[in-house]
C-alpha cells in the first residue's frame, strides 16, 4: 500500500472502530464487506475531506465502492489540483 492508501485505511478504521483493521483491504467493499451504513459514510467523507483538504461531491460518493476507489479518487483529485 502506498501512503495515500495507508491514510485512507487509517481513516476508515477510525470510523469503523469495531472492524478489525487487518480486514480492511484495498479491494474491500466499504458497505457490503465492512458493514458501513449511511452515518458512517458521512463520517468518513468528513474525515477524508479534512485529511486531504478536498471536497468529495455526492456524485463521486455514488461511484465509490471499495477502499481502492477512495484512494484512486483522492489521487486524481490531488493531481487535478496541482
Amino acid at each position: 500500500m502506498d501512503d495515500v492508501e495507508k491514510r485512507v485505511v487509517d481513516l476508515i478504521a477510525e470510523v469503523l472502530v469495531d472492524v478489525n483493521k487487518e480486514h480492511i483491504q484495498l479491494d474491500s467493499k466499504i458497505v457490503e464487506d465492512l458493514g458501513a451504513e449511511s452515518l458512517d459514510i458521512y463520517d468518513m467523507i468528513a474525515l477524508l475531506e479534512d485529511e486531504f483538504g478536498l471536497e468529495i461531491t455526492d456524485e463521486e460518493v455514488e461511484k465509490i465502492q471499495t477502499v481502492q476507489d477512495v484512494a484512486n479518487y483522492i489521487r486524481s483529485a490531488q493531481s487535478a489540483a496541482s
Binding site: V15, L16, V17, D18, L39, Y42, D43, I45, A46, E49, D50, E55
Partner: protein, 412 residues
C-alpha cells in the same frame, strides 16, 4: 386503584467515581470530588474548578467503541449509568413485550460541548467542516433514543429539559407513566456534561459559580456563611422504576418505593428563586399529598442545597414553612457539598443517594459546613454522616426558570 411504583435498579457516574458503591463510600467518607478543571485550559477563567468525571469512567463495558464515538459526553454518561442500573435490576432485556418498557432522560443543556467544538470548526474552516455526527450528539432526546435501541424498549420515550430539575422531573414523569399503567418499567434519570468553556464562562458572568479556586475541595459549601456559588459538575444518575407487580412477578430485589412527586414553578424570575420559597414549598407539599404522607413522617431531605446565597436561604424557608417545628428534627443533607452541581443530572444522582440513605440508615453529611449561615439554622448533617433509622425521604431540585421538583421515597 393506583399501581405502586418501586425502584429495582440504580446507576451513577460522578466526580466521586463510577458506580453506586464507589459513590456511597465517598459520601460516607465525606470526600469531595471537586478539583481543578482539566477538560480545557481554564487559566483565564474566573472559576477554574469543577467536579469532572475522571479516568475511573470506563464506558466500554456498556458502550461499543463505534457507538461511543457517535455520542456526546452526556450521552456516554447516560449509557454507563443506565447500564449499571439495568445490570443491578437483573431485568431481561429486550423484554417480552417491548411496548411496556420505556425511557425518560433529563438533561439541562445536552450536547453543548459538541456545539462548541462544531462551531469552532465551522468558524475556522468553513461550513463544509461541520461534523456529520453533531446533530445526534446535541439533541437531548437522542439519549433516551440510544437507550431504547440498546435495550429494545419501544414504550414511552422522551427527553425532559428542566435545567437543574431535569433529573428529578424525568424520574417523576416515569413514576407517573408506570402508576397510570402506560408502561410496566422505565429507565429514568438525568445526564449532563457541561464543564465546557462557554458554559463555565457564561455561568461566571451571572456570578453563579464559586471562585474558591485555590481550595477546590472546600468550594462547595451549602448552608455555610462563606459560600460563594455552586461548583459545576458532570455525570449521570439512572434508576429502573417498575410497577410493584412486575417486580414481584420476576422476583426482583426492591431498593425502595417511590410514593409521590410534586412539580411547580415559581413564576418569578428567570434565574433567581422566589425568596419566599412558595414554589419549592408547594412542590414538597404536593409530593407528600400525592402519597398521603404527613410532614411529621418525613425523616430525611436530600436538599437542592447548591451553595448559592439565594438557593440555600430560600430552601430553608420553604422547608420550615412546610414542616414547622418538625423541620428541626429532619436530617437534611446537601450531597452537592461533595459532588458539586450536576445541573440536569443532579436530581437523578441525588435520588440514588436518597435511596441509599434509606437503605443503609445513614444520612450523608453536608461537608464544608464550618460556620452556619444564621439564616440557615436547620440540621444539615454537618461534616460527618449520621446513623438514623428512616422510613420516608424527600429529594428536592429547583431550576433556573423556576421549575421545582420533589420526589418522595419510602424504605421497604
Amino acid at each position: 386503584m393506583q399501581r405502586k411504583v418501586v425502584v429495582t435498579g440504580m446507576g451513577v457516574v460522578t466526580c466521586l467515581g463510577s458506580g453506586v458503591a464507589t459513590n456511597w463510600e465517598a459520601l460516607m467518607a465525606g470526600r469531595s470530588g471537586i478539583g481543578p478543571i482539566t477538560l480545557f485550559d481554564a487559566a483565564k477563567y474566573k472559576s477554574r474548578i469543577a467536579g469532572e468525571v475522571r479516568g475511573n469512567f470506563d464506558p466500554h463495558g456498556y458502550v461499543q467503541p463505534k457507538e461511543f464515538r457517535r455520542m456526546d459526553r452526556f450521552q456516554q454518561f447516560a449509557m454507563v449509568a443506565a447500564g449499571e442500573a439495568v445490570d443491578d435490576s437483573k431485568l431481561e432485556l429486550p423484554p417480552t413485550n417491548p411496548f411496556r418498557g420505556g425511557v425518560v432522560v433529563g438533561s439541562g443543556m445536552g450536547g453543548l460541548s459538541s456545539i462548541e467544538e462544531g462551531m469552532h470548526l465551522l468558524l475556522s474552516k468553513g461550513p463544509n467542516s461541520a461534523p456529520p455526527l453533531l446533530i445526534t450528539k446535541v439533541v437531548i432526546n437522542l439519549s433516551p433514543g440510544m437507550l431504547s435501541i440498546k435495550y429494545g424498549l419501544k414504550g414511552p420515550n422522551y427527553g425532559v429539559v428542566n435545567a437543574c430539575t431535569s433529573g428529578t422531573s424525568a424520574i417523576g414523569e416515569a413514576f407517573r407513566i408506570i402508576r397510570e399503567s402506560r408502561a410496566d418499567f422505565m429507565i429514568a434519570g438525568g445526564a449532563e456534561a457541561v464543564v465546557t468553556e462557554l458554559s463555565v464562562a457564561a455561568f461566571s458572568k451571572i456570578r453563579a459559580l464559586s471562585t474558591r479556586n485555590d481550595d477546590p475541595e472546600r468550594a462547595s459549601r451549602p448552608f455555610d456563611r462563606n459560600r460563594d456559588g455552586f461548583v459545576i459538575s458532570e455525570g449521570a444518575g439512572m434508576l429502573i422504576l417498575e410497577s410493584e407487580e412486575h417486580a414481584a412477578e420476576r422476583g426482583a430485589l426492591i431498593h425502595c418505593e417511590i410514593l409521590g412527586y410534586g412539580a411547580t414553578d415559581d413564576a418569578f424570575h428567570i434565574v433567581m428563586p422566589d425568596e419566599t420559597g412558595s414554589g419549592a414549598y408547594e412542590a414538597m407539599r404536593l409530593a407528600l399529598e400525592d402519597a398521603g404522607v404527613k410532614p411529621e413522617q418525613v425523616d430525611h431531605v436530600n436538599a437542592h442545597g447548591t451553595s448559592t446565597d439565594l438557593n440555600d436561604k430560600m430552601e430553608t424557608i420553604a422547608i420550615k414553612k412546610l414542616f414547622g417545628e418538625h423541620a428541626y428534627r429532619l436530617a437534611i443533607s446537601s450531597t452537592k457539598s461533595m459532588t458539586g452541581h450536576l445541573i440536569g443530572a443532579a436530581g437523578a444522582v441525588e435520588a440514588v443517594y436518597t435511596i441509599m440513605a434509606l437503605k443503609k440508615g445513614m444520612v450523608p453529611p453536608t461537608i464544608n459546613l464550618e460556620e452556619p449561615d444564621p439564616d440557615c439554622d436547620l440540621d444539615y448533617t454537618p461534616n460527618t454522616p449520621v446513623s438514623r433509622e428512616m422510613e420516608y425521604a424527600l429529594s428536592n431540585s429547583f431550576a433556573f426558570g423556576g421549575q421545582n421538583g420533589c420526589l418522595l421515597f419510602r424504605r421497604v
